[in-house]
Symmetry: C2
Subunit: 202 residues, 2 copies
DNA sequence: AACGTGTGACACGGCGTCGTGTCAGTTCGA
DNA sequence: TCGAACTGACACGACGCCGTGTCACACGTT
């Protein structure tokens, strides 16, 4: 954790390293204590820095949170797109791919899950979550349709609504499972979620 | 708004009237400004009372919030059960009944919607929301199954998971629609949500 | 060796909220 | 009519957090 030598790297590099440490510390604090326990003091201490450096990198907590949650969303979206690129055309398989990746993503770093879950409560995060949900919704509509003919507009909007239900529902299911609230093993979980996904979007 | 005459009603009655006013004011503040803008001062002023009377009726804001959200959940559950009691045995019709009631419930008093939506962010509300979701999940499993034969345990758990996805997803869909984020009319909304509901739980 | 800059610890004033207390004015019961 | 209880407005100290400022020390450059 010692980042002592301070001119092996340029000032700019150290600055961005500190930013990264603050971001990681933000996930730590949120993951352990929740968003409303996130303070400038707490996140700075967690990063092994003082408040001074927090304000060097971020205007305030909202800016930090927005950036962190955007990172999470962007990363997840990229991973899903990557996975879909190598998945076959079979709808069932594509659904399984998405769901499995989603679970693995949050399992790999559970700190993200809590940020995701608590987002609706924070005005700053709420808007970004909605935006992200919209991205995922469009992703589902585009990548999971069995037929590929252009749709009528009303049917498309209905399809988007169904996808929104799926996105929100799956989020809840995965986080509930991560918290131990669902008594299924991972494979059963993936299978059932994928089934619902396909059924809803058929 | 003048509640002047203070001994047409007994002390106990006035006390409970004040409690009710504080609860309603709580919904007002949450509905307009969000949970994190809810303060003792704000809710008391909104109720036309002073902080003194807040503490007369509630130990702190958490107690108030818990009670208010419990009221909402209880009320909604009761209305759904009432409606289901007079609905026929047809699954499609039952699903429509539930969804239409749900939408009407939050439309009738939109203040509740925001409390519902922001619940995951607040530790106090989170647990109660989860509990409520569990109630609704069981309700769906029990009242919406086409077949009525006793299930194997694993299939039951999978069914509950599917129901959880539906509950969370529908919540998101309805609130998104209330905020104007879904370009469908009410009938289309009900129809599509009910369709997803049935498809997911088939 | 000396100087300038990066660094970390701490201090400070300000703000908003909490929870309690006080007090004067009124309404009601005896 | 008098006294007791109720009511509403305001005052107060305490706390936690914010955002900025100050300071002594470590470091690297010259």
């Amino acid at each position: 954790m010692t980042v002592r030598p301070y001119r092996g790297v340029s000032a700019e590099d150290r600055r961005s390293q500190r930013r990264a440490r603050v971001k990681s510390a933000c996930l730590d604090v949120v993951g352990e204590d929740g968003v409303d326990r996130l303070t400038v003091e707490a996140v700075s201490a967690r990063a092994g820095l003082t408040k001074r450096y927090f304000y060097e990198g971020f205007a305030d907590l909202d800016v930090l949170l927005a950036e962190v949650i955007d990172d999470v969303f962007t990363e997840l979206l990229a991973e899903i797109l990557d996975a879909l690129a190598v998945a076959g055309p079979d709808v069932r398989r594509r659904a399984h791919t998405i769901v499995r990746l989603l679970i693995e993503f949050f399992q790999r770093d559970p700190r993200r899950a809590r940020l995701y879950v608590e987002a609706p409560g924070q005005p700053t995060l709420r808007a970004r979550r909605d935006e992200a949900f919209h991205s995922y919704t469009r992703l589902l509509v585009e990548h999971l349709r069995a037929d590929s003919h252009p749709e009528a507009t009303v049917a498309d909007r209905r399809r988007e609504l169904a996808a929104l239900i799926v996105v929100a529902g799956v989020t809840e299911a995965v986080t509930a499972w991560l918290r131990g609230g669902v008594d299924l093993d991972c494979d059963q979980l993936v299978d059932e979620i994928a089934r619902v996904m396909i059924a809803a979007l058929a």
